[in-house]
Amino acid sequence: MSNLGFLFAGFTVAWGLVFGYVWFLARRSQSLEARLDGLERRQRDNASAD
């Protein structure tokens, strides 16, 4: 197959973009989850303290 290098590079870049984005979203989601957990705990504590 001619130009295999370019083909390989192109498809790697494309799939890399998609999976990279998914990973990026997953990481942000994780940190948001952690912060949400903390805040919800505070909310529960406030509610039970009233």
Binding site: S2, F6, L17, L25, L32, L36, E40
Partner: protein
């Protein structure tokens, strides 16, 4: 008790279908589609490049529609959709802009060329970047939502104008290179058409999955903001306790 949205909204199965379809598309691209006569195997790149371009425009349309609905209804869910679609749209625009030069180098001998399609994509990419920057630095949430909606609507109206002006400009200053790929209207072989069709479907499905993922993140974000606001608000008990 957590009041977060349920996880079982079918996203997992959709993602699996998208992945399988993409794998099938990859297989068809390399094993089923014929080798193009003029360009050779590098033409197979277009089974990636053209669907990415098409999905980019779909993403743009979603941003526009969501922005329009937001200005009309002022419901948060439309703004969430606009923000998410813009980000995912940028991913596909980047895909188009990167696969273009990778295709162009072996075919035309140069990485970048200001041909009509790539130039338009580049301008669109800049508009999306501007949108994302406005999202990030535009001020408080409600203002950002409005400003971004205005930008999206004006940007969408500009799309056809950009497309035509760039095309006219290109015909005025033609490059020696013309995009000859097997685009519709040039007598595609049926095997090419099938491969393109599957590639389009895979791209659109991947877009949908990414969009839903991003939407979920956006909702988490909003919930976080709402919680933060609630927790930093002075409690009514404190205010009323001085009697």
């Amino acid at each position: 008790m957590s009041t977060r949205p349920s996880r079982s909204d079918g996203l997992g199965s959709l993602a699996i279908v998208a992945f399988v379809l993409s794998a099938v598309s990859l297989g068809l691209t390399f094993l089923y589609a014929p080798t193009e006569r003029v360009e050779g195997d590098i033409q197979r790149m277009l089974y990636l490049h053209v669907p990415a371009a098409f999905t980019m425009y779909v993403g743009y349309a979603v941003v526009f529609f969501a922005s329009f609905m937001y200005l009309l209804r002022r419901e948060s869910r439309w703004d969430e959709l606009a923000a998410s679609a813009a980000e995912v749209g940028t991913v596909f625009t980047s895909m188009m802009i990167t696969t273009g030069p990778i295709w162009a180098k072996p075919v035309w001998g140069t990485y970048w060329t200001w041909d009509a399609r790539l130039t338009s994509a580049f301008v669109l990419w800049l508009i999306l970047i501007g949108y994302l920057m406005l999202r990030a630095y535009g001020g408080h949430a409600e203002q950002v939502a409005r400003y971004c909606a205005v930008l999206a609507i004006i940007g969408f109206a500009d799309l056809p104008i950009i497309h035509y002006s760039v095309q006219w400009w290109r015909t005025l200053h033609p490059d020696a290179k013309i995009m000859t790929e097997g685009s519709p209207g040039q007598g595609l072989e049926s095997s090419m058409m099938i491969t393109f069709a599957v590639a389009f479907a895979a791209a659109l499905l991947t877009f949908t999955v990414l969009l839903k993922l991003r939407l979920r993140l956006e909702r988490q974000n909003r919930r976080l903001d709402a919680l933060q606001r609630e927790l930093t608000r002075p409690s009514p008990v404190v205010l009323g306790s001085t009697n």
